[in-house]
């Protein structure tokens, strides 16, 4: 589904990703771990198409398409979803209205008919039920005055509504206490399907207790230096990232 080959990304004249390779198949959950400044968030932004995060070289294929050639809104419509580390507030814009605009924009891109208000609301109710989210979230402006936990849950709710093929969760656990973390992880697990793939970017292993990955990759200094199964995350938890750095020094 997603194939990243030798990806180099420069941000503000600084090389951040330096030859990253990653293959993700439908239904798989990949965790990307690594120390601060390794390029984890850059990977998320690059895949979602943020301005200023352009690939210098390398390629990204998504379901047979050149992902990097698409506008960010087209990537969204093709099924790429980024759950933000810091979800953005849009004052005065109703959450429901925003979501409907997003869903209809994506449907329009895909040549599907727009969804009318009634249909949309019943879809909203259904998703809220599944995720056990209170519907007062819907009446408020996008992320405005939301607590950290509410913002992250709102991201998961958006994901549920937009039904992406590939969801990238950028440090979804940051700033959450353990209860909020569990609730967010529970939401993610409910959205796991045999078709939908996840890239879970995180600094800490604890999120992976709740969202159990199929693969764990360690990102350091712009490339993936180690891959393994969920036990690799436990090792990182025990030993920290220092051993990776040491090993790299030995290799060099």
């Amino acid at each position: 589904m997603l194939e990243i080959k030798d990806l180099h990304v420069t941000v503000a004249n600084r090389a951040i990703l330096k030859g990253l390779n990653l293959q993700v198949n439908p239904g798989e959950v990949h965790a990307i771990m690594g120390p601060n400044g390794a390029g984890k968030s850059t990977l998320g932004y690059t895949l979602a198409g943020r301005e200023g995060y352009e690939a210098a070289s390398g390629s990204v294929q998504f379901n047979g398409q050149d992902l990097l050639a698409l506008e960010p809104q087209a990537r969204a419509a093709e099924g790429v979803f980024l759950a933000f580390q810091y979800p953005v507030e849009i004052p005065g814009v109703n959450n429901t209205y925003f979501l409907r605009a997003a869903l209809n924009a994506q449907r329009k891109y895909r040549g599907e008919p727009e969804i009318d208000a009634r249909e949309f609301l019943s879809l909203v109710r259904q998703k809220l039920n599944v995720l056990h989210i209170k519907d007062d979230l819907l009446q408020r402006a996008v992320n405005e005055g939301f607590s950290g936990g509410e913002k992250k849950r709102n991201e998961i709710f958006q994901m549920a509504m937009l039904e992406p093929k590939l969801a990238i969760l950028d440090e979804t656990d940051s700033g959450l206490d353990i209860d909020a973390l569990k609730r967010v992880a529970e939401g993610v697990n409910l959205l796991r399907t045999p078709e939908r793939a996840f890239i879970v970017i995180t600094h800490y292993q604890r999120l992976l207790d709740y969202i159990v990955p199929d693969f764990v990759h360690v990102l350091a200094d712009g490339k993936i230096v180690q891959s393994g199964d969920k036990d690799l995350a436990l090792k990182l938890e025990d030993e920290g990232y220092a051993w990776i750095k040491q090993r790299k020094m030995v290799e060099a």
Partner: protein, 490 residues
């Protein structure tokens, strides 16, 4: 204490926008080819007399105009606004333009070409008006060409007609109120308007009557080299209520055209006037060529206790906007409100705001101003809150927010506060923000296009004002902002 609290000049920075903004599409830029009676250019006592004669006005009104004209000659144009414009040549303007097939007795006699024009503008004078349930008066250049729903309104006791007609049919009311809120000597443009005003709407709601429908006037400048100088007078007697809307458009022309209107509102005891404007005069092209100079004096007096005047304006058009709809709160417990969205794009300039003058005890006022600047637009909020010694227990709340789109626009805020009553309570909040890269990317990453994202964010920014507009107007205002912002980011 007379103190300009702050002058915040903010140049926006940091947003990646390209400057080659798309040509803004102005949907109302066509002109109607219609036979027009046009006065020769120039202004003199003879011009003033000729306008008065054209309108078959009584002697007192002609003298009133002449007094205003003579006073105007002694005045100089105001230069305190934050506006850059060429001096206006008042002798290069024609002060009267009227379609030749004029004076229809009923709507059925209105020139079909005119009906077609207003149809095209989305202002239906016939059947559709019936469905919309809004009574409309339309002013084409210097004359009112028709008013709908006259019979129904008359049954309710409401008078809604062209002001030139009211001078003949209700002379005593006109004499009693005209120029009592905005005097002929009030300011340069009000004096000019008093001398040469051609038409406009008159609304009178008698004691205890709630006007059964929304009233609306649609102003259209069509003829070349003319100015439009309309005058509107709305009176609500005790316990009366009216909601009034005005809209305006003009053809696209390379030269600037002058619009200098005066609006006077009066509310007596417990009466309420809700006055909404969607101003969409031609703004000029993307290089700042052409466009309407909009110099308008709007003021309401809450003369009766517990009366209320509420101004809501959405200002998207005009090359220059100079406009401060104000409330003079005389009656005890009376209240004034001002809700404004002002947008400047390309080379548009707006210096707009309000004045809330608190005279009566326990008077209240509220100001919500939203300024949006894009392109090289310059947007200034200028507002006065004045609390007289007599205004015991007066309260004011002011919120004024600016939104910047792009790097070359400006937002400026000049709040003036004068307080002579120490127990008054005043609050002032102000923010300046720009559409951030974060907000834009967040929308894009959800599949929303850049243009729709900007509309969405701007719409959210204006929400507090839009919800004050009558439904149909709110929809129109939203669309207008969308069109006006076309090409603001690219």
């Amino acid at each position: 204490m007379n103190q300009a609290l702050n002058e915040a000049v903010v140049e926006s920075t940091g947003m990646a926008v390209v400057d080659d903004a798309l040509r803004r599409s102005y949907a109302h830029g066509f002109s109607t080819d219609i036979e027009t009676e046009l006065f020769a250019k120039g202004l003199s006592e003879a011009t003033v007399r000729a306008i008065s004669a054209k309108k078959n006005e009584p002697e007192w009104l002609c003298e009133w105009r002449l007094a205003a004209y003579r006073h105007w000659l002694t005045m100089t144009p105001p230069d305190w606004a934050k506006l850059r414009l060429e001096p206006i040549d008042f002798q290069a303007i024609s002060y009267y333009a009227a379609p030749k097939r004029n004076q229809p007795k009923s709507l059925d006699e209105v020139d079909p070409k005119l009906l077609e024009t207003f149809e095209k503008l989305g202002v239906p004078l016939h059947e559709r008006a019936r469905l919309a349930g809004v009574a409309v008066d339309v002013v084409f250049d210097s004359v009112s060409v028709g008013t709908t729903f006259k019979k129904e309104l008359a049954e309710a006791g409401v008078v809604f007609c062209a002001i030139s007609e009211a001078v003949r049919t209700h002379p005593e009311i006109i004499k009693q109120y005209l120029g009592t809120v905005v005097s002929t000597a009030d300011n340069y443009f009000a004096a000019l308007n008093s001398a040469v005003f051609s038409d406009g709407s008159f609304v009178f709601i008698p004691k205890g009557v709630r006007c059964p429908m929304e009233l609306s006037t649609y102003f259209r400048i069509n003829a070349r080299d003319t100015g439009q100088f309309e005058r509107t007078l709305i009176i609500c007697e005790d316990d009366a209520y009216v909601s009034y809307l005005e809209g305006c458009t003009a053809p696209m022309r390379d030269e600037n055209q002058l619009h200098a209107a005066v609006v006077e509102l009066v509310t007596l005891a417990r009466a309420e006037i809700k006055y909404s404007t969607v101003q969409n005069w031609y703004p000029g092209d993307e290089n700042g060529k052409g466009g309407i100079y909009n110099f308008v004096t709007k003021r309401g007096e809450c003369r009766g206790e517990r009366s209320k005047i509420s101004w809501t304006q959405v200002e998207t058009g005009s090359a220059i906007t100079w406009k401060y709809p104000s409330c003079v709160l005389i009656g005890a417990h009376s209240s004034g409100e001002f809700y404004s969205v002002a947008l400047t794009h390309h080379y548009q300039q707006a210096d707009t705001g309000t004045k809330m003058i608190h005279i009566g005890a326990h008077t209240k006022s509220k100001i919500i101003s939203k300024g949006i600047s894009a392109g090289r637009g310059q947007n200034t909020y200028r507002g006065l809150v004045k609390i007289e010694k007599s205004a015991i227990g007066a309260r004011n709340f002011t919120q004024c927010d600016s939104l910047l789109i792009g790097k070359q626009c400006g937002a400026h805020t000049f709040p003036y506060i004068e307080v002579k009553q120490p127990n008054a309570v005043l609050e002032h909040e102000a923010t300046t923000s720009k559409i951030s890269d974060d907000q834009l990317f967040y929308c894009l990453s959800r599949g929303i296009s850049e243009e729709d994202a900007v509309s969405l964010i701007v719409d959210g920014f204006c929400k507090q004002v839009f919800k004050e507009l009558p439904m149909e107007f709110a929809v129109e205002a939203r669309k207008l902002l969308e069109v006006s912002l076309e090409g603001a980011v690219g």
